[in-house]
Amino acid sequence: MSALPFTEHLAGAYEAAAGSLPGAKDADVVARRKAAIAAFQRLGLPNHKLESWKFTGLNALERQQWTLPANDGSVDPARLQAAALNADSHRLVFVNGRFDAAASKIGSLPKGATLLPLSQAAGNLADVLAAAGDKREISLSELNAALASDGVVLLLEDGVVLDKPVEIISFGVPALVNLRHLIRLGAKAEATVLESYRDGGASEKLAGWTNVYAHVAVGAGARLAHIRLQAESDAAYHAALGRVSVGAGARYAHVSVQGGAALARHELHVDFAGSDAEVDVQGLVLAHGSAHLDHTLFLHHAVPDCRSNQLFKHVVDDHGHAVFQGGIRVAPQAQKTDAQQLSRTLLLADRAQIDTKPELEILADDVKCSHGASIGDVDAQQLFYMQARGIPVAEARRLLLSGFAYEVVNAVPEGALRDHVEAFVEGWLAANSEKGGLK
């Protein structure tokens, strides 16, 4: 709990901005925001003393005097086009942490569907700002609740199916941006959501900090495909916490690709709220330079007859550092749980690092649980086979890395969405290969 001036500085930033934040005239909202900033001041940034923050430190955040972004902002059309899906979508674009109506196109929605930027969802504000929990780990999400300037509210009533994906694009800026999302699917509703965090290109040198909180509720028998692409600038900081509850017979499929930022953590908590639900969480980390990219998961099997699968792949070059913490808790009553976990890593340089930690707490006796981890370089036999066909080593390695990543890319729903994620991964590999990396 170091550097009081840091938390005080942010509390000051809140005071200055309070009047212009969504819900500034709503006494309940203001009270909630005040309580949140007080909680953040009390808790401070999470540090290494917390088990779940053992491998990822946020000290670098304290070295910068953070400002909240200026109100106005717009995105260069070419940059937007490069970041957007090449397909029809319900698109919400955020620049400077605020909804950019000109760049967005929410489009028409079926009856029973609500899709709004948080800044226009006055009736849902108090709900969206609700606390993520009551532990010390929530300090970042409390900071987020105090400062959230915008975000997405997606509500689907029972049985409502969205055919087109919801596309959330945020462009990072050299300031502290807080976005807060609420995604709630009623029984048997279906949706696909893509969250993209992109380099806003405002400055190559100045770091921005994007702090995201997402609350996701998947109703009974509902299906949600939730894709997350963290492609911030190499100087940026990115912290995200997602809390997901999954109802009986529902399916939640999450793919998280992190290929940007200097320091990033995506933490995801999934609670099984009803039996016979299925959760598939897959991740891909592409770390170069001195990037430190963290996935921390906690899957809580609280009820019987549910299945979960975690597959995380890491490509770490230069002196990059990847972290994977895969927590699974199977409660005593959660019999017939099937929970699988696999972490695979390719370390491409002497100073590249991975901390990979399974954390299984199994309190039921009739379960199928497994975990595994592998760490290595690209396979020498595969490399030789490609060379023996005339393929240059650099290209062969790039192809092998692409093949390694493909399993996760393949978990993204087929079509424009998968093409989009694949293009990002291939672009990352090609750019790093061209500048002599990935060896």
């Binding site: 036999q381 086979y385 023996a388 066909r389 390694f404």
Partner: protein, 249 residues
């Protein structure tokens, strides 16, 4: 085409090839036969330039140029092709992607422009038809989930696409039923020309019924102990390796 001169090679410090001399002229097909452990596969890997296979003495000349200082990919681009005994599975990389990279690497070396996607597909599909391979294999990951026979067919398919000057077939017959063997042999024979040569490594004579060699060599303990015409293979089949090795000793 290929001149192997007094070739000695070690693997993990152990000498496997102990003085091989062999010359293959353009258009010739040579068979290398021999019992298990005689060094047949080592010879193929040494020719392809695999890491860990160290040449300690002698030289390998390919069209007058020593291969020893060339990387595996450079040898491949010069026109040396090794059909693997155990083709390697590459999850996540489509056969088409892999092969197009290979074709274009070889074309670049020959001063030719990249083969565009349409031409590549057309050419590939025509070759696959000859080999009675389903076109779906183009989109599948390289060798992943292929049966033994499908893997071998895929090797010959790659060879047909890359049109090498020297094809080295390392036990391409192993794991093939007779129908698959005929198809694979036809694929190899289709490439035979006065400019191309082949080295067919096999344990059994039966492949040589379909790919008829000009010269047969018997390899034992890292040396060629006998060389003859195609009848030598039949003699081996009849008498077994033990007699031939005893005769030569």
């Amino acid at each position: 085409m290929l001149e192997i001169k007094n070739l000695h090679a070690t693997v993990d410090g152990k000498e496997i090839l102990r003085g091989i001399d062999l010359t293959i002229k353009p258009g010739e097909v040579h068979a290398i036969m021999g019992p298990n452990g005689s060094g047949k596969s080592t010879l193929s890997y040494v020719l392809a330039g695999r890491d860990g296979y160290e040449v300690t003495e002698g030289d390998i000349l390919f069209n007058g140029q020593s291969l020893l200082n060339l990387e595996p990919e450079e040898r491949a681009r010069e026109g040396v092709f090794l059909a693997f005994q155990y083709p390697v599975e590459i999850p996540g990389v489509a056969n088409a992607t892999f092969l197009r990279s290979a074709v274009n690497a070889v074309r670049k070396h020959r001063g030719l422009a990249d083969m565009d996607a349409m031409t590549f597909l057309k050419t590939a599909k025509a070759k696959m038809k000859q080999l009675q391979m389903d076109e779906k294999f183009l989109q599948r990951a390289v060798n992943q989930g292929f049966s033994g026979g499908e893997k071998k067919r895929n090797e010959v398919f790659q060879m047909a696409m890359l049109e090498p000057k020297l094809a080295i077939l390392d036990e391409t017959d192993s794991g093939l039923d007779i129908d698959a063997l005929k198809i694979v042999a036809e694929g190899v024979n289709a490439l035979r020309s006065p400019e191309r040569s082949a080295m067919v490594i096999t344990h059994y004579q039966r492949l040589l019924d379909y790919i008829v060699p000009d010269v047969v060599h018997v390899l034992s303990k890292g040396r060629i102990i006998k060389t003859g015409g195609k009848d030598l293979a039949l003699e081996l089949e009849a008498k077994g390796y033990a007699d031939i090795i005893a005769d030569a000793a």
